[in-house]
């Protein structure tokens, strides 16, 4: 059984010999770039560099699958015309301005050339082909972007969008309809290109911002509709303490959920498995992988395994300055846990 077969078997709920280890979130670690003599923003805009970077951790820290579609979670926002700030060596693209507001919302529509915009045609497309050709037989490749709710907030501004959730449901529905089309189009495009699964990162929909009540009312039906329209399996990532929404995350129809260290892994696994959903996570990126000692990283990875994670991963996007020695501890903990010799 190679790495890809093992991953997919586990993803499908079959028993496998060992828990796969890797990342299902972004990993623009500066040391990864240094190892191939590259840095941002080239890694964000050049398909070849993006593909090389994606493969680095499989050699450098022993991860077992690769990420396509770059090192930020704004591919959809970019293609929808959201104003972006430029990446630097240690920061990713970020949302700088919002193209729509109450006054011009009538202009908002899903562009027919959506997939010809942003980095879809010239960067993500070729990058996925390179990864497929170079590691696709051996390893799983996943695509990722922001989810529809987060995209919607990027289009009009989070604060305004949150207010509308209370005051103006008509406007919320209008923005979400377009965001939904964008999310479905992007994920299905990625499946057509050959990714094995697709991650929707939905930081804006998490309990750090939105009440579980509102999640149920607005986000759950939205995600259900999107997931039902996909050509392949999806994973839903939400930041912060997602304990109150784990059940609903699983009810979206996704095949996996990705959670942070603030969430209770053991309880999440129990709930998710009951609904035939796999769990990714949950070693802390800020406190442990960036700021902790290798021993702390090892211990936290071990705890995630003991608590039953299906895929041992960082809990969120990995900080650019995270030390390689810390990142290596995930593999080491996994190998030790299963009585394997670390390579």
């Amino acid at each position: 059984m190679n790495l890809k077969e093992r991953f997919l078997a586990k993803f499908n709920g079959e028993d496998v010999d060992i828990t796969p280890v890797g990342s299902t979130t972004t990993y623009a670690v500066m040391a990864f770039g240094d190892s191939i003599g590259k840095e941002r923003p080239e890694a964000d805009t050049d398909a070849r560099v993006m593909a090389d970077w994606a493969k680095v951790p499989t050699k450098l820290v022993g991860w077992e699958w690769v990420k396509a579609m770059g090192w930020d979670i704004i591919p959809l926002s970019e293609a929808m015309g959201v104003e972006l700030g430029a990446p630097t060596r240690d920061t990713q693209y970020f949302v700088k301005g919002h193209p729509y507001n109450a006054d011009n919302l009538d202009d908002l529509e899903f562009p027919s050339d959506f997939l010809q915009r942003g980095r879809f045609p010239d960067v993500y497309g070729p990058q996925i082909q390179m990864l497929k050709q170079e590691v696709g037989d051996e390893m799983v490749i996943f695509g990722e972007s922001e989810g529809a709710f987060t995209l919607a907030a990027n289009l009009v501004g989070t604060e305004l969008f949150m207010r509308w959730c209370f005051k103006d449901k008509g406007k919320v529905a209008r923005v979400l309809e377009v965001a939904k089309q964008a999310a479905i189009a992007a994920a299905n495009w990625a499946f057509d290109q050959g990714v094995d699964y697709y991650v929707f990162a939905e930081p804006t929909s998490g309990p750090a911002l939105l009440s579980p009540r509102m999640y149920k009312k607005i986000v759950l039906p939205l995600e259900q509709e999107i997931v039902a329209a996909l050509k392949g399996p999806a994973v839903l990532h939400i930041c912060a303490n997602t304990d109150p929404v784990i059940d609903m995350m699983c009810d979206t129809g996704v095949k996996g959920i990705s959670i942070e260290e603030k969430a209770d892994m053991k309880a999440a696994v129990e709930k998710a498995h009951a609904k035939d959903v796999r769990v990714f996570g949950n070693v802390a990126t800020a406190t442990t992988l960036f700021n902790g000692t290798p021993q702390e990283c090892y211990d936290e990875a071990r705890r995630a395994l003991e608590n039953g994670t299906d895929f041992l991963c960082p809990g969120c996007g990995v900080a650019p300055q995270s030390p390689v020695e810390n990142l290596k501890q995930l593999r080491k903990a996994r190998d030790d846990y299963f009585g394997l010799q670390s390579e």
């Binding site: 700030g85 240690d90 920061t91 990713q92 970020f94 949302v95 700088k96 989070t158 604060e159 949150m162 207010r163 959730c165 209370f166 005051k167 309990p207 750090a208 911002l209 939105l210 009440s211 509102m214 930041c239 912060a240 109150p244 990126t285 800020a286 406190t287 960036f290 700021n291 969120c316 996007g317 900080a319 650019p320 300055q321």
Partner: protein, 223 residues
């Protein structure tokens, strides 16, 4: 001037903020002026006390960020009516100082920052809001320009959090006595110490709690 309806109006302002009822707050704030009640008393024991309860509800996970925003809207409706009528004597000796606040370069998540800003304003601080995606050197420049005692930095992403360390360095090099507060999702007590800052709030909720404590202390001083 005596104000017979003081307790009733204070209660209505409190309730208006907690229940996100802008109309009730507007109507009551105007009554406060009509009845000649003490405006500062109405702000602190009505509006701010209401926001204290909102902070508690947030902490108990009854309220979330959209609810906080709606309550803040109601609070601002009242503040806009009442603030111009504060008796300067009520503010005598109560100048709380000045705060420079902003979200660091590369980060446009400013909901938490805006909530903290509001709480500082309610507590009587003069707030210099630099907004979001603020160039790092701007914090030190603004601190020097305004001679503010506190600089409050916010970052919601691990990646942008790193900029905070540079800001702390820049400010402390020019003025070691300035207190620097850090806040935002990825920030921890360890990070705060590592970056050489003076204090932090673990989450938006904690930050609100911290700001609420300031309001509470202010109200105690007033009693």
């Amino acid at each position: 001037m005596a104000c017979d309806k003081r307790d009733e109006l204070i209660q209505a302002l409190h309730e208006g903020v907690v229940e996100m009822d802008e109309d009730l707050v507007l109507e009551t704030a105007n009554k406060v002026l009509e009845e000649g009640c003490n405006v500062y008393d109405a702000i602190m024991n009505g509006l701010a006390a209401g926001m204290e309860e909102v902070g508690d509800l947030y902490d108990q996970q009854e309220y979330f960020v959209p609810e906080l925003l709606m309550c803040a809207d109601a609070l601002y409706v009242g503040l806009n009516v009442l603030k111009p009528h504060i008796d300067p004597a009520d503010l005598g000796g109560r100048a709380k100082g000045q705060v420079v606040i902003g979200t660091v370069q590369g980060d446009v998540h400013d909901i938490g920052k805006n909530i903290i800003k509001m709480m500082f304003e309610v507590a009587g601080f003069t707030v210099h809001d630099l907004g979001r995606d603020v160039p790092l050197e701007k914090f030190a420049e603004e601190q020097l320009r305004t001679d503010s005692e506190i600089v409050a930095l916010s970052a919601m992403m691990t990646t942008t959090m790193m900029g905070m360390e540079k800001v702390v360095e820049m400010i402390k090099a020019k003025n070691p006595n300035v207190k620097i507060m850090l806040g935002g999702a990825p920030v921890t007590d360890d990070v705060t110490k590592l970056f050489g800052a003076d204090g932090y709030a673990e989450t938006a909720g904690n930050a609100v709690q911290e700001a609420v404590k300031m309001v509470s202390q202010l109200r105690k001083l007033q009693d």
